[in-house]
């Protein structure tokens, strides 16, 4: 674990340093958060899967912080947050409770909340169960199912093999043997766009901030995730303005999942043609402008 004495990550140069940082503590697990700016609206950027941490939002934070208060935090399992080793510590319910704990610790009553990938699943549960905390919701490359679809990777996650190729690398033993190799493969899939080498390298380096055992816990089929039936019933409960953003070349979560989510929410869907899983990182200018417009619309509605 990293030194918790000062704000910021170990990255020596950041475009903008946090104005405030701290830990939210829940059931003994410490969650490191950072706060930037002091605009009238708060934007919370939820962490996705713990293979990365809050730096995944580095191309958003400086811009949004010029106009709003921005809150990011490291997920349990990576960055400066704690790394419990038990798969059940990574149940969706825990991740949702973490989000609430950070909002409470920072003193955020309500915010526009942006969820990427797994974070979008957390966001859906957050807005359904704590509607008063979310004034607007943006779902990016949402990793959540509204219909049952078997995931063959889950069944073989703990099976040991001689070699691990392509998605066969989605395997606990593979991670233990060669976490960097898996991470490189994974981020190659996450960033299918040409000229994405920097993103693949950086993603891989973030993955190496955690360790194989922790990552195995976060990916274990034994942890509990939102079922399609729960997700469908949560989506029907959403009352706040929502926006769904999805790349049509997303290899982690197909566009059809984003389409289904937009339909269930009755929310507009915007597609990035040629875009992969993390459109915020690979197409930041478009993403920042689009989300800012959404935030402005939500703020205009919420005007006292």
């Amino acid at each position: 674990m990293r030194d918790a004495g000062t704000c910021g990550t170990l990255d020596s140069v950041r475009a903008r340093q946090p104005d405030r940082c701290g830990y939210a503590v829940r059931s003994g697990v410490r969650l490191y958060y950072e706060v930037f700016g002091d605009g009238p609206t708060t934007i919370v950027l939820l962490p996705p899967w713990s293979i990365v941490y809050s730096r995944i939002w580095k191309l958003q934070v400086p811009y949004f912080a010029r106009h709003a208060r921005v809150v990011v935090y490291d997920p349990r399992g990576n960055g400066r947050s704690d790394r419990p080793g038990n798969p059940s510590a990574y149940d969706d319910g825990e991740l949702v409770a973490d989000a609430v704990a950070v909002l409470d610790a920072v003193g955020v009553e309500d915010a526009v909340v942006v969820g990427l990938s797994v974070g979008a699943r957390v966001l859906l549960a957050l807005v359904a169960e704590h509607p008063e905390r979310v004034s607007g919701a943006v779902f990016v490359g949402a990793h959540l199912l509204l219909t049952d679809r078997p995931n063959p990777l889950e069944a073989t996650f703990e099976q040991e093999r001689e070699s691990y190729e392509d998605w066969g690398r989605w395997n606990a033993h593979s991670w233990r043997r060669d976490l960097a190799g898996f991470a490189e493969f994974f981020f190659g899939q996450a960033f299918p766009e040409p000229h994405s080498t920097r993103l693949v390298e950086e993603g891989t380096s973030w993955a190496l901030e955690t360790d194989a055992e922790t990552l195995v816990a976060t990916g274990s089929p034994r942890r509990r995730v939102l079922s399609p039936a729960e997700a469908t019933s949560f989506a029907a409960k959403v009352r706040c303005p929502a926006l769904v953003l999805h790349g049509d070349a997303d290899r982690i979560t197909p566009l059809s999942d984003g389409v289904a989510l937009a339909r269930a929410l009755g929310a507009p869907l915007e597609v990035v043609t040629g875009g992969g899983h993390c459109v915020n990182a690979r197409h930041p200018v478009w993403f920042n402008a689009r989300v800012r417009r959404f935030v402005d619309e939500v703020s205009a509605r919420a005007r006292p």
């Binding site: 766009e193 040409p194 000229h195 029907a236 959403v238 009352r239 706040c240 303005p241 929502a242 049509d248 389409v259 937009a262 339909r263 269930a264 929410l265 009755g266 929310a267 507009p268 869907l269 915007e270 597609v271 990035v272 043609t273 040629g274 875009g275 197409h283 478009w286 689009r290 959404f294 402005d296 619309e297 939500v298 205009a300 509605r301 005007r303 006292p304």
Partner: protein
């Protein structure tokens, strides 16, 4: 002509006073464009309506005291409360449950009073130069109509009042409009409104009302507003938490003088305030679970490296000449940039021609307000005051610019080309921040020259003002155009002054344009053997063949009638003579007389082949047709339209440069004169100055260099 006609016109009776309203478009959200101090009617919103109606349902009102609404007597009939009740009645009569109210000056008070009476019906207010008079109290700086200085001089006061409201330079058209609308009413009516009971009256009362209503609001205010102090707008914005848009240097009528800014701010405000909530949209989504999910904002955002090269080509519909040269340039451009997709934003007849050539017409083209119809409405008896017509086309130009603005924000282009796209060019210089792509402007005419400089001093003043504005635009914002191409050599331009204190046409063009040789849309050498051409086109040989053509609009009808009469006289001397009369796409051949030996046709593809096959041609003074005859080296007589600055000055000068054509004047030419000229022309052997070759290629080189970076 208006840029957009109402879809529905209505009237509601208010205790015997008719209140006239108009409805445009059919969006889910309604905008009620409020009346104001009755020196204007609903037309004051002419630069807003066509654009806003693309996105919303728009209702305009003529306030009592002006337009087609009633003019009751006495101050009590014009109170703030009565005017608010009128607006509410229009909401009711037009079947509008709720609306955003867009208002100017006094109209803001009336909007507040509407909301007070019917809170649920007002969703928000756009307050332009808000005249909530008790806020930021301030003595009225404008002399009222019954001020002793005016001593009943109604027209004098109108001129004074209109001038005060429009302090911006180059506002002559907005000023003329305002004077015209003011003169639709009278001294008694304006006096009555001047003394009408106002409400609210106290500052606290006004502030309380505004706070209590708690409506989303957008405030737009000019710093040079002489009617409502800027402080008043600021105070209103503070009270409501409104977005406050300050127009630096703007007067009292920013919607008229700065329409692109105001239009886009209104649209943005309404969209922001109506963002769909998931809750309301869910039911609809469930009902149409299998329908494709709407992608917001039209096309998805496309990763830049995956985009094919696209150009948007805006082609003026005035005359068919531009389109043929544009097609020639486009053809050469594609040879240089093979993967370029060109989309044409153009209206009939240009769109028909480009479609016939297999080109892509952008679907938004169907929404362009018609320029051709406007020009035809401005013309009579072979006379078209082209400068005044262009100036009076302000509403259409603004509407069509706004359409362009939408199109280029929905799709990203690598290049915008505007061939005499006056709308695009003017408003990009007025709003340079809206330029988001390289832009090339092409023209064969630079600046306005008065057609009657000795007698029409107003025309001299106005053309000078327009030229000064053009010069300011270019000098201040040279980056707006990445290429400025003049079609022709500098010597083909008159060396006349652009106005007092301004440079000459030729000198200024030399400074600000690149020249390319005149673009002939065909290889002229293939059209220089009339006998062979005549056989090819099925005319045969051995008799005198005349061809008459008048371009793409209906303006040439009178000349065709004169030509028919003249041809009847020619036939008396040359009994085997034949005349092919090409009426163009907008004149029905059946409406012209029948003459023995005369063959009437509508549109003819490849018209220049027919002209080149003629022994002599009769045409009006349009540039393209006359220059095609120069290229084909055929004799011709031409009739510049009276009062048409371009045909009178620019085309005539260019034809003189080439030593071509016999110029005639429609007003002083009898059928006998024309018959004589036709026979003389037929017997002449032209020796014109040759046109430099390669115009289309040189123009394409310039455009291609923008796309490829080649130098």
């Amino acid at each position: 002509m208006r840029a957009r006609e109402p879809d529905l016109v209505g009237e509601t009776d208010r205790d015997g006073v008719p209140i006239h309203y108009e409805v445009f478009g059919s969006g889910q959200t309604t905008l009620l464009m409020m009346g104001t101090f009755p020196v204007v009617d609903g037309h004051q919103w002419k630069a807003q309506v066509p654009y806003l109606a693309r996105h919303f349902r728009v209702v305009t009102v003529d306030p009592r005291g002006n337009g087609r609404s009633g003019r009751p007597a006495g101050p009590a009939a014009y109170s703030d409360d009565v005017n608010a009740a009128d607006a509410l009645a229009v909401l009711h009569a037009s079947g509008t449950d709720s609306a955003f109210l867009v208002a100017l000056c006094s109209g803001i008070k009336w909007s507040l009073l509407v909301a007070e009476r019917a809170p649920g019906r007002v969703r928000g207010i756009v307050a332009i130069a808000p005249g909530v008079h008790p806020l930021a109290p301030h003595p009225d700086p404008i002399q009222p109509v019954d001020h002793p200085d005016w001593a009943g001089d109604w027209e004098g006061w109108v001129a004074y009042h209109s001038g005060v409201l429009l302090p911006e330079p180059h506002s002559s058209k907005a000023y003329d409009d305002l004077v015209g609308w003011s003169l639709q009413t009278d001294l008694a009516t304006i006096t009555a409104r001047t003394h009408a009971p106002l409400r609210p009256t106290e500052e606290q009362e006004a502030a309380d009302l505004v706070r209590r209503l708690d409506l989303p609001m957008l405030v737009i205010h000019g710093t040079e507003d002489r009617c409502q102090p800027l402080e008043r707008g600021r105070r209103l914005a503070e009270l409501t938490g409104a977005r406050f848009v300050v127009v630096e240097g703007g007067g009292h009528l920013p919607h008229a003088r700065h329409p692109v800014l105001v239009n886009t701010k209104i649209k943005e405000f309404v969209h922001m305030t109506t963002v769909a909530t998931s809750a309301t949209a869910t039911a609809a989504a469930t009902a149409t679970a299998n329908a494709p999910v709407a992608v917001e904002g039209g096309a998805p955002w496309l990763f830049a490296r995956d985009r094919k090269r696209r150009a948007l080509w805006v082609c003026s519909p005035i005359g068919l000449g531009h389109v043929l040269r544009d097609l020639a340039i486009a053809h050469s451009l594609r040879e240089r940039v093979p993967d370029l997709q060109i989309e044409w934003l153009a209206q009939s007849p240009v769109s028909d021609v480009v479609r016939a050539h297999g080109e892509i017409v952008h679907p938004a083209s169907a929404e362009l307000a018609s320029e051709s119809a406007h020009w035809e409405s401005e013309a009579e008896r072979h006379e078209l005051h082209a400068f005044h017509a262009l100036r009076r086309m302000d509403e259409i130009l603004c509407a069509n610019y706004m359409l362009f603005d939408d199109v280029v924000r929905e799709t990203s282009y690598d290049l915008w080309v505007g061939d005499e796209a006056w709308d695009v060019d003017h408003f990009l210089h007025e709003n340079p921040e809206r330029k988001t792509a390289p832009y090339a402007f092409l023209t064969d005419v630079v600046g306005f020259l008065p057609v009657d400089a000795e007698h029409d001093l107003r025309e001299v003043e106005l053309t000078t003002d327009y030229n000064a504005e053009m010069i300011e635009h270019r000098e201040r914002f040279p980056y707006v155009r990445d290429r400025s191409l003049f079609i022709g050599d500098l010597a083909e331009l008159p060396d006349a002054s652009l106005g007092r204190g301004l440079p000459t046409v030729r000198g200024w063009t030399e400074r600000w344009f690149s020249t390319v040789p005149y673009v002939v849309p065909f290889d002229p050498s293939a059209y220089r053997r009339p006998a062979a051409l005549r056989r090819e086109l099925g005319y045969g040989t051995g008799y005198p063949l005349y061809v008459a053509a008048v371009g793409g609009t209906a303006v040439g009808r009178d000349l065709l009638e004169l030509t028919a009469e003249a041809f009847a006289l020619v036939r008396a001397d040359e009994p085997d003579a034949r005349l092919v009369m090409v009426t163009g796409p907008r004149i029905d051949p059946d409406e012209l007389p029948d003459v023995e030996g005369m063959d009437k046709r509508g549109y003819v593809d490849g018209l220049f082949a027919h002209l080149a096959a003629a022994d002599a041609a009769i045409v009006q003074g349009g540039l393209s047709t006359t220059m095609e005859l120069v290229a084909a080296r055929r004799p011709f007589v031409y009739f510049p339209l009276a009062h048409h600055w371009e045909q009178q000055h620019f085309v005539a000068h260019r034809l003189d440069h080439y030593g071509a054509g016999h110029r005639m004047d429609y007003r002083t030419t009898s059928p006998r004169d024309l018959a004589e000229a036709m026979r003389t022309a037929r017997q002449s052997r032209p020796s014109y100055r040759p046109i430099r070759r390669g115009g289309a290629d040189r123009a394409a080189d310039q455009l291609a260099s923008v796309l490829t970076g080649a130098r």
